[in-house]
Symmetry: C2
Subunit: 288 residues, 2 copies
């Protein structure tokens, strides 16, 4: 007979998983049980709080479908998504940040120097830089996958007034690793707060805002895929991102430029905003 | 600019909840974040494992409805439900155990000594004992709420072949605190294992069986409500309950009795099984 009490139950649950075939599965489940139980013991979890936790998960279930996942959002606002990204970061490489729910495959392939501005209102921005390896050499045959909101903080998938594929593209830099494009400055926006995560944010004294950002996903043969974001350093929410995606190295100045050659080359008004950002790609092995 | 890295992110998330109005909410959220992040850091949570966790929760969401809650089941098989019960236990009082999903209000009120056997096949059992306070004195005006499976391991709600309200009742002992009833021996059964929790049990090298048990909920003015279970000590699953509800003090012998007076009084065949179990109720204050 197992003598199960408030302390021994943890070892009993861990022991119940001893016959798991996969050693990593055993390790993960043992750690999950240990930390979950330590949490409950530390706060002396009350029955009504356990019920509130179950009610939170059940409400998240009710609002989750193929287009919206409240569990991902919960992970985001508790910093777990970002922590998972950070655990993959490689010193010296560009820091990672959250993928978010608006990445989609199949963005149009545009040439280096392309303009995304079209009919989009807002502050014109020239974004340029290079895709480099850890030694600072250009990475050949990289593909940049890019997406952002418009100046009202909406992605094209959320906003029927925007054309399909608005403000997103793929681009393949040449042998010099250089990419460049013109766009409009994105805007801060809120994560969805009409569900249980929103209620948690309110009860927790928090808001739902994310600072404006560009999303980048950079792929190249032999390098670890890099998912990251680039933020305007002067964004009002730069220090209080609801999903903890900001890193100091990813907050960049939106410089005012009056350069006549760039303005002519990229058909920009003067002055325009200039963002320069190089990607440092980690080799595939060191990311594992 | 917050310098968020794999270590500092935990304090950043905790700080984000600093404006929560309710101090208990702040405490619980801070502990949740600290333990959740410590778990991820300890195992160096991999992106594909984070995705597997989200997929688990999303699959649990898809199978959860008003009749079935896969999140409660996950809590059960990870021992969190039982740990919450154990944290409420009061030394000297009857140990608590899980409520389970088959409790329902409105059981028929039966007199002390009633028989539940009716058309139920199986081993006849006389169950009796007293409802006592911590000093061993009878508790007046207690109400016992009882439910169990039949000898095939099915509750009446699951099994159209059983009459409504089969094998459940409420009973009010007299001033001597004595309760008694006759029934059939319940049977082991499996928790639902056709969903993601079942997949987790299989991956974890575990089965889904619970030992047979009687469910009791005892209520009395001035005492903390007591939810518990009583198990046959010789059940084949007594040491490996899938939901960790067994306590040594709740595993009781099913004695063989040949007592002619009891057999006559309760209209039982001889020999019959005898279970004797007293409840010790904690005063309402010491349970808080």
């Amino acid at each position: 007979m197992q003598g199960i009490d408030r302390n021994t139950i943890t070892d009993a649950v861990i022991a119940s998983f001893a016959r798991a075939q996969d050693p990593r599965m055993r390790e993960v489940l043992a750690a999950l049980v240990r930390h979950l139980h330590a949490f409950a013991r530390e706060i002396e979890l009350r029955p009504e709080e356990w019920r509130a936790g179950i009610a939170f998960l059940t409400a998240a279930a009710a609002i989750t479908d193929e287009r919206r996942n409240e569990f991902v959002l919960a992970s985001d606002i508790l910093g777990l998504t970002s922590l998972t990204d950070l655990l993959q970061s490689v010193p010296g490489a560009t820091e990672r940040s959250v993928l978010g729910p608006f990445h989609a495959e199949g963005s149009p392939l545009l040439p280096v120097g392309a303009s995304l501005i079209g009919d989009n209102a807002g502050e014109p921005v020239l974004v340029r830089g290079r895709v480099l390896d850890m030694a600072g050499q250009p990475v050949r045959a990289a593909t940049i996958d890019f997406w952002q909101t418009n100046a009202q903080g909406m992605y094209w998938q959320q906003d029927p007034s925007q054309p399909s594929d608005n403000l997103r593209f793929r681009m393949q830099p040449g042998d010099d690793g250089v990419y460049a494009f013109t766009t409009v400055r994105p805007a801060p926006y809120t994560v969805p707060y009409d569900g249980p995560v929103g209620a948690l944010l309110r009860a927790g004294g928090r808001h739902a805002w994310r600072p404006a950002h560009f999303h980048f996903r950079v792929l190249a043969e032999g390098f670890a895929p890099l998912t990251t974001e680039v933020f305007p350093a002067d964004d009002p929410y730069i220090d209080e991102d609801a999903v903890f995606g900001v890193r100091a190295s990813l907050a960049v100045p939106f410089l005012k430029s009056d350069a006549a050659d760039d303005a002519a080359r990229y058909r920009l008004p003067r002055p325009f905003s200039l963002v320069e950002f190089d990607f440092r790609m980690a080799p595939v092995r060191s990311a594992q």
